[in-house]
Amino acid sequence: MTTGGTTSMTGTANGAARISSIDQVQESLQGRAYIADRSLATALFLALRLGKPLLLEGEAGVGKTEVAKTMADLLRTDLIRLQCYEGLDVNHAVYEWNYAKQMLEIRLLEAEGSAREGALREIFGPEFLIKRPLLQAVEYTNMHPGARPVLLIDEIDRADEEFEAFLLELLSDFQITVPEIGTIKAATPPVVLITSNRTRELHDALKRRCLYHWIDYPSIEKEEQIIGARLPEAPRTLARQVSRFMHELRQVDLYKVPGVAETLDWASALMALEQSDLRQETVDATLGAILKHQEDVTKVSGGLSAQLVATATAGDE
């Protein structure tokens, strides 16, 4: 339907053009309360400049999805999100026909006594097409010349191999064929961010097509910065102690190691309880904010939490 525009493939669309260095990515993210280390900023910068998808892997709750949201904000563009699940197919990822509307249209045409020949063509026209995220992303630049959306393909590890194979194809040429309408091609490819929790191994072919970055749990200092950025009202002492506590807690053998998301939940919970520093009773009472398995809670509360609190508050008296 549409053909490639005049913009070049990499780096010249409006958003990306404003980003000229790794430092700028890092600072802009920080300005939007996202603390990224230099390696993540490098990966993002290259994703923008080389026009390649970036695969972000990491444990749950380390801020993978948040990167995409922040990037969209930073580039002043739209975020198009596709949540993956097993059995995700073309109907839910790319496009679907609006069957109810088509049926109604047929009834109307019948009532008008119109010719059937033309009817078939009409009910498979663009106005009956429901556009799903991938088609939206491909079409985006044709609708907003010069702009690149951020396409977030979230939790790809939940999708199955069939979808991975389809995605591989899409990522190579950013074009989608709707048999009844024709081929739609992105004038400028979207900024693609793919996240995975590693609940299964991804196919090597897909990985090779992407830039790769592993987001690790933050260091104590970085986590403290994150709390400061996300919860500006948090007392400094509390933020520091919470970061230290979380750091120590992650060294314990747990079924589910808490991520940054849990840290922020917990810090908010402690603030709601008007705590200005960690106390064992309060910690035990609020463990549910960071530990989500009964076995983990039992393991930590009592003796171990007292120890962790002592480590976290050492030197803060």
Binding site: L55, E86, R116, D160, E161, R200, Y212, W214, D253
Partner: protein, 432 residues
């Protein structure tokens, strides 16, 4: 990939220096491949292209390489080490903003470009992952079309061997008989039971309406829905997870079981393999790259505590905390092969078995000692584990492997009734 990768990379740059860089980068890629990182030419071209974007400040150059060349978390540290060995500090300008290519070529490498100039691998254990066969994509799709949608899985075992050999305990096998058993196993074909996935495929009968196809077909009736097209859930083989005891006498049985798992349709592509003595090690990737003996040989080099006794509970704890989330998705069948001689903490074993059973679709314990008619599961380890086992089966001879194949093929959509007693650590502590 190369088409968009090479174009314009070196424009406006000093050509000779550019070629030198390209050469160096390509050889760096080859070096990484030697170390076992699956680096492709396309990735190398991406790296070259990214240099144009980030410049030659050492740290940025290194990070750009990591973003483009590394595809697995576990390769990160190896890359860092390899980078530091390969790109000497003298290669880089001190000034981060300076991206002049002329000082890229290190003096000691500028003249001789022979292979021997490559620095030695930082960690020899990591080499040899190249040549790892790729999983084929969409394979099950093709197969789906070929087979009759409603056909039962073929559970027939197609081999014949002397009955005497089939009934003989592996422990009494001579090396010649071992070889014979392997050949027999190679001729076996069998399938793992399938699960219904959430993906749907076209079908004559099925629980789901195919609205798109229905509407198309019924256009000829003026849109009146006379014929309804249907879809049904696609069947996929279940994930199998093997957790093998390789301490002492169990080594032989574990090897044969692995050999046997190789004979399943698609080989080991849907099988995750872990081995343990006192510690748990994942060998899935090693097994895909080489044969069983080679892989186990390698593991035995890496695992120092080979004959140091068995800690099943601790090994399962490692599995439950580190691996279960990654390998137990979507109705996995878990096979533990061990004689249950456990030197670890029984309470840990009990707790971890309970947890493992909750995460597994089916938990099968294989015990070669079950082959003996006088065997009674009385050891502390087995006593603790048995309440959480769905099936307790022997694996001491070829006959028992044959019946294992049958039971794996017949794992149904209905899970066996489990009566797991609620595990409360406090209660247990009181018992002690």
């Amino acid at each position: 990939m190369t088409a968009d990768g090479t174009a314009g990379v070196l424009t406006g740059r000093e050509i000779a220096a550019g070629e030198e860089l390209l050469d160096r980068v390509v050889r760096f890629g080859r070096y990484l491949r030697q170390l076992g990182l699956p680096v492709t030419l396309g990735q190398i071209m991406d790296f070259v292209q990214s240099v144009d974007q980030v410049g030659f400040a050492r740290e940025d150059f290194k990070l750009a390489g990591r973003a483009t060349l590394v595809t697995r978390r576990e390769d990160g540290p190896l890359y860092d080490e390899a980078f530091d060995l390969y790109w000497r500090r003298s290669t880089f300008a001190e000034d981060a903003a300076d991206d002049d290519l002329s000082n890229l070529v290190p003096p000691d490498q500028a003249l001789d470009k022979s292979e021997s100039q490559l620095p030695p691998p930082p960690n020899k254990n990591r080499e040899g992952r190249e040549g790892e066969p790729e999983r084929r994509m969409g394979q099950s799709e093709v197969e789906e079309r070929e087979q009759d949608p409603d056909a039962e899985p073929d559970t027939q075992l197609t081999y014949s061997a002397s009955e005497a050999l089939k009934g003989k305990d592996f422990a009494q096998f001579t090396p010649a008989e071992m070889e014979q058993a392997r050949r027999i196993m190679e001729e076996m074909t069998w399938k793992i039971s399938q699960r219904r996935s959430r993906r749907t495929v076209r079908a004559r009968k099925g629980a789901y309406l195919d609205l798109r196809r229905s509407l198309r077909t019924n256009m000829k009736y003026g849109g009146e829905p006379f014929e309804l097209a249907r879809r049904r859930q696609k069947l996929k083989p279940r994930q199998v997870v093997l957790i093998c005891d390789i301490s002492g006498s169990m080594d032989r049985y574990s090897r044969l079981l692995l050999q046997f798992m190789h004979t399943v349709e698609h080989g080991l592509s849907r099988v995750e393999v872990f081995v343990f003595g006192t510690r748990l090690t994942r060998i899935t990737r090693q097994l895909r790259a080489r044969n069983i003996d080679g892989a186990l040989e390698r593991v035995s080099q890496e695992v120092q505590d080979w004959a140091g006794g068995t800690r099943i509970g601790e090994s399962l704890l490692t599995f439950n905390t580190r691996w279960s989330r990654r390998v137990l998705g979507r109705g996995a069948i878990v096979l533990i092969i061990s004689d249950g001689w456990d030197r670890g903490d029984v309470n840990v074993l009990r707790r971890e078995m309970a947890r493992l059973q909750r995460g597994a679709y089916r938990l099968i314990w294989l015990n070669p000692l079950l082959g003996s008619p006088t065997y009674q599961p009385l050891t502390r380890g087995i006593q603790a584990a048995l309440p959480y086992v769905d099936d307790f089966l022997p694996v001491h001879n070829l006959n028992s492997l044959e019946s294992l194949a049958l039971s794996l093929a017949e794992v149904t959509d209905r899970r066996p009734v489990r009566r797991q007693t609620l595990h409360l650590p406090d209660v247990l502590n009181a018992e002690r």
